[in-house]
Symmetry: C2
């Protein structure tokens, strides 16, 4: 039983219970359209990452604007997407374990499901599971390490070896390379990000050419995020973009700089945690009802969007302490504020509902059906 | 629709899908009993904090062992507890907002519900809501600031003023003081914690005596946590203990020191995140499938419980990077490991199910019905 929604359709924003995850629908729709338009011009495919929103309603909006499908990180996320109507899902991750593989193969009977590998053992396990499930062919990407030192084999020969092994399996097909450069996304300077992606594209191109020279065509090179997509799109190497956060933005992405050195204006914040001032024990201190269980803090505290005199200073489980500058102090007990999360993805994963707001009214309640889908 | 459980009753632990929140039932039951026994000897009441477990099944086990009821932080948590069979719930927090107050009063028709205040406005709002709901009387605690500078009025006169105001309301009754010293819980040294609670008890006693001198008896002084409960229990001032984390412990509480200077042995870790090594791209690097959406990091990374050669080094949304010492390197692709969360409360809030394990078998699946109950 999920927790009751914090709002009803038609309510005014003021009446929405707190903390709630609210979406400024106008800003959200502008973000959706802005990326779709830019990608359409570039000629590459867009496959947005659903790990950001975990919501099939949003996935279908992205597809309606031209996306070929979505990415997910987990098998249970793929389930939420397929059960919500998405027909093309790439698991941008390695999948290990019998339970996970059985669930993955079950999905592959009703939707196009891709997956990544970085080890021969994963290929053997995928082959066995696909054969057991009676699948004709499962598309498999080889993940290459772009320098983030997380998953992925090294570019070049190690990737060729795995691609060959995939091609040798009767129930698997080599679908391309995953070349996501995660650690480039939050490099602050535009030039830094550009250089990082030039390096990544070189590694991917080298690997693609090595594969081609060995008779293995590489139809898809997939990667990119909200911080760097323009570079991958223009690289001539990448064929598919995986941006996720662009729909919402967050405080951390907001600190990236554009080419002119100004804070990024590529997209605008559309996701907020709506919180109440629940205690006002001192002039310089306001306590809000949103803490560690209502916001992710791995990329820093949230920004107080609509009250410039206040700074979110410290979180405990259910409380946030705002430092309030005396001179412009407008926050009263019971007031509600919008907080821009430091990091959108793990913040979304704390909520069961998006409360869609337009002109200060609740227009929609979208269930976050992949919340907690961590398997 | 909550996410499917990661296990079935009777499965072996090895078969449990990952990441999963597993409870070592033997260790958990020893923790439950250990605190219950110690509190029974002390003569004070035990009202464990359900913000830790968010699960009525566990609340009822605590009550069976002598607890008078539970604490919660939020109205929606109180709903989960009352709907799960708990008849006495203290909201150890201020409650602001019309929606919250209506829900709170609805609960007070079927269970004993207490609440805290630190401002005259909250008292006025509670009185209006209680009158509107036709309640006879709602027990109200005045929260005093023990030095953590979160919520709470200052001890002494400011608390007396609020207590009088509560007493003046026809539908409210003054129930006592909340004197929780949160910032003392993780002071590492035993002596430091003892001194901090001596100071807190002095402030609470001073306030209690001032109230008594003004004709307001103070039947309940409630507070204490897992780090300090022995001091509150022996203070002669506190009448009720609010410990929560003792049932699970976590890496952060594990760093507290006992009187002899050794790491605390008061309780033992019983809560783990069960994770799979999903990628093994280099000898010194293992990637597990539990990251920011599977663990809370506000009090540091998790400990790798059953593999001393591995250190959880870095988290991203869905991945954890373990640094593995070469010489004793036993971790293979597909292996599963137990991680002790840095902080139990916000980690629990990420999961829908506890997987109870005894002798490496799944004995129980308990729904975490207050997960996401942040309103």
């Amino acid at each position: 039983m999920p927790v009751r929604p914090p709002a009803e359709i038609g309510m005014s924003l003021d009446e929405v219970d707190t903390p709630a995850l609210i979406v400024d629908l106008d800003a959200f729709e502008r973000n959706l359209k802005r990326l779709a338009d830019r990608v359409r011009q570039s000629g590459v495919r867009l496959r947005p990452h659903a790990k950001t929103h975990k919501c099939p309603v949003i996935a279908l909006k992205q597809i309606e604007l031209g996306a070929v499908g979505v990415c997910v990180q987990k098998v249970s996320e793929a389930e939420a997407m397929v059960y919500g109507g998405v027909r093309d899902v790439l698991v941008t991750n390695e999948v290990m374990g019998r339970q996970k593989l059985r669930h993955l193969m079950a999905l592959a009977h009703t939707a196009r499901i891709g997956v990544c590998v970085d080890d021969p053992q994963q290929i053997a396990d995928l082959e066995a599971a696909a054969a057991e499930a009676g699948l004709k062919t499962l598309p498999v990407h080889v993940e290459i390490n772009m320098g983030g030192n997380r998953c992925g084999v090294e570019p070049g020969e190690p990737a060729l070896k795995l691609a060959r092994l995939v091609e040798d399996q009767p129930h698997l097909s080599f679908a391309g390379l995953q070349a996501y450069h995660g650690s480039a996304q939050h490099l602050r300077g535009w030039d830094e990000r550009q250089r990082a992606i030039e390096g990544a594209a070189d590694k991917a191109a080298l690997t693609r050419d090595l594969l081609a020279a060995n008779g293995i065509p590489c139809d898809s090179i997939t990667g990119a995020g909200t911080g760097t997509f323009e570079f991958e799109a223009g690289s001539g190497v990448y064929t598919e973009l995986q941006c996720g956060s662009y729909i919402f933005m967050d405080a951390d992405y907001g600190r990236n700089l554009d080419k002119d050195g100004a804070q990024t204006r590529a997209f605008e914040p559309s996701l907020f945690v709506w919180a109440t001032v629940m205690s006002r024990p001192a002039e310089a201190r306001a306590i809000v009802d949103a803490g560690l269980k209502a916001l992710a803090f791995d990329s820093g505290p949230p920004l107080v969007w609509d009250e410039p005199s206040a700074t979110y200073e410290r979180a405990s489980d259910e409380h946030g302490r705002l430092a309030v500058a005396g001179a412009t102090n407008r926050l009263r007990l019971g007031d509600k504020v919008k907080l821009v999360p430091g990091h959108c993805d793990p913040t979304v994963n704390l909520y069961d509902w998006y409360v869609g707001i337009r002109h200060d009214r609740v227009e929609s309640l979208w269930p976050i059906t992949a919340r907690g889908a961590v398997y």
